[in-house]
């Protein structure tokens, strides 16, 4: 199977080079040439206005999936506490289901977790599939996968989304392989293609330097994991929903892992994804003493302290406070970036903030491209002054 160019017909317009997702076509001497990176995907074939690109690829047949209906969300919980991302996903699921004219369901697995079903209904689940039992007390890959296998084959959902948490990223690929579905990881946007009615999954690649939109045409359910903090929580219009309890025949000997212990780590864990105001520092903050200034500002604003990867690697902030591609995604009302240059990996984690203020010495720092207010100056002058004035402002208002 191959794709080739009828050189006589090619006018070198480069439409194909722009279309190629693999960068496999180049135009030399006014003619398109297909290089080694070609995967015979055929994306270029239809783009050519002169039918100069030919292919002997048989179009892959898209099977009939009309019996697959419903948008499903994995309701992740640990020790009876629902993870926030599950609720965020229900918000997105409502939107997708509306466009497809389908229903939203949540899958809740655990032991003594019935109470959580109501929360799921409040935030958009019309049906909650509840699977309970002592075998499900802790999350374990194989027990949960078994549940999904049974539910998916019985109910045939169209879409199945999970949070891109440490649990979601363990479970989703296992389930996808088990049920025979394609899976897209760590999406930052989901939408329905208006023509084909399929799920378009957008995610960052190459460390956030590139965004890719991915479709899952050849299998169902269409599966994706979604980064926490990206989707908005939307309370459901109606709070009526059905809980469907399911039994399970799974026995302990079928599960090959045992949780010996959970050790909570004593870092004062702040959930930045919920913070309204975040003060973040980067390389320019220099040291822990510098972060002390930022902390004072954060306290004056009743906000939280965060930082870049550099700040984490230098030990100025804990891992849980690292914002960005390899850290967490935040969308506060106000994000104040101090001494943050604004590498694309960092911007990927904070650009959805409602307002962004940036303080940096370098007027060309990329952070200013995503800032509403920019201050070119020394943060060691500006930050203490800002803290002082905010304290005064607060006192005035309190009077």
């Amino acid at each position: 199977m191959a794709v080739w160019v009828e050189v006589d017909l090619c006018d070198g317009c480069r439409r194909c080079t722009r279309e190629c997702p693999y960068d496999a076509i180049e135009v030399r001497d006014g003619k398109a040439r297909i290089g080694d990176r070609c995967t015979s995907c055929g994306a270029c074939v239809d783009k050519c206005h002169h039918e100069a690109i030919r292919s002997d690829i048989q179009p892959r047949v898209v099977p009939d999936f009309s019996e697959y209906k419903g948008v499903w969300v994995f309701a992740e919980q640990r020790a009876g506490k629902l993870s926030r991302v599950s609720v965020e996903l229900l918000g997105k699921a409502q939107e997708l289901a509306k466009q497809l004219n389908e229903k939203v369901s949540a899958v809740l697995i655990g032991y003594h977790v019935t109470d959580l079903a109501n929360t799921l209904i409040e935030f958009g689940a019309e049906t909650v599939h509840l699977v309970e039992g002592p075998i499900f007390k802790d999350y374990r890959t194989e027990s949960y996968t078994h549940v999904f296998q049974e539910l998916v084959s019985a109910y045939k959902p169209n879409i199945l989304i999970m949070g891109a948490t440490h649990i979601g990223r363990d479970l989703a690929p296992r389930v996808s392989r088990r049920v025979g579905s394609g899976l897209t990881a760590d999406c930052t946007d989901l939408s329905i293609d208006p023509d084909e009615g399929i799920l378009l999954q957008t995610r960052p690649a190459f460390g956030g330097n590139i965004m890719a939109t991915i479709a899952n045409r050849f299998s169902r359910p269409q599966m994706a994991t979604v980064r926490p903090g990206v989707m908005e929580v939307v309370p459901a219009p109606s709070t009526k929903g059905t809980v469907i309890p399911h039994g399970s025949t799974l026995t302990e000997d079928k599960v090959r892992t045992q949780i010996l212990e959970f050790v909570k780590e004593e870092t004062p864990h702040v959930d930045l994804s919920k913070a309204k105001i975040i003060v973040a520092g980067g390389r320019g903050v220099n040291d822990t003493a510098g972060f002390e200034l930022l902390r004072e500002l954060a306290v004056a604003l009743e906000g939280e302290l965060a930082g870049t990867r550099v700040a984490f690697e230098a030990g100025w902030i804990p891992a849980s406070s690292q914002v960005g591609q390899t850290g967490i995604t935040v969308r506060p009302e106000l994000y104040i970036a101090c001494g943050v240059s604004g590498a694309i990996q960092h911007r990927a984690g904070m650009s959805d903030s409602r307002f962004v203020a940036a303080i940096n010495k370098d007027p060309y720092a990329p952070i200013f491209k995503v800032a509403d207010w920019g201050i070119v100056g020394d943060l060691f002058d500006v930050v203490p002054e800002l803290t002082r004035q905010l304290r005064t402002a607060c006192e005035v208002m309190c009077d």
Binding site: T17, H166, L183, G207, Q258, F262, Q325, R347, D352, A371
Partner: protein, 263 residues
Amino acid sequence: MNIIVLVKQVPNNTEVKLDPKTGNLIREGVDTIVNPDDLQALETAFTLKETHGATITVLSMGPVQAIDALSEAIGMGADKAILLSDRAFAGADTWATSFTLGKAIQRVEKFDLILTGRQAIDGDTAQVGPQIAEYLDLPQVTYVFDIEKLDTGYVQVKRRLEDGYERIQCSLPAVLTIIGGRSKPRYPEISKLLSACTKRAPIEVWNAADIGVTTAEVGMNGSLTQVIKTFAPKFERQSEFLEGSAASVARDLVERFKRNKLI
């Protein structure tokens, strides 16, 4: 004890950009490295080799240039390496990749443990490890940062969670995906690097026929997901620059916070 380590050669991700005019990936001058989490997996394997004795086979799928990743692994101390390379493998999503690697693993003689990095920095999917575990019907533990104990038939590991870690016992054979732990990956020895370049080096290259797959099952054709388009992320805003002394810019900023009801 036989350990298989799965590695991937990836572009040094900070350097990959889209051409603003054509929207194509700019790969020129981008050097390739062994994926950082996979280096951690290799280091974990070498530590086990030192403490328990093991034969380490490294497996990778990629273009012929990915041979460098395997040579590097041999330089670090791996015993054998296999590169899966065939044009038919190109354009694979994680479904097709896990199938291809899974098929190859079935051709490698018996093994007790499969180690790989949690995720690769070019795709960041973290999917291939668990999908291989499922394909081979093996138990899996992901986000492993420490192996506490390795005994006949089972392994005890620590798995990282957002707010702590779990201690897990898992039966063998198993798939573990590794994240950065206590020890830094070692550097290769020059003499071993040089022997990896010789004909006698224990490196094999397998194609689609060698692992008994058809071109329809692998690569782009065997994939369930497709990239529809790629684009440069855009999140630019119109920045208003505040100027003046520290006191005056601070005043201006506080005023804007108030105006937008942020405080």
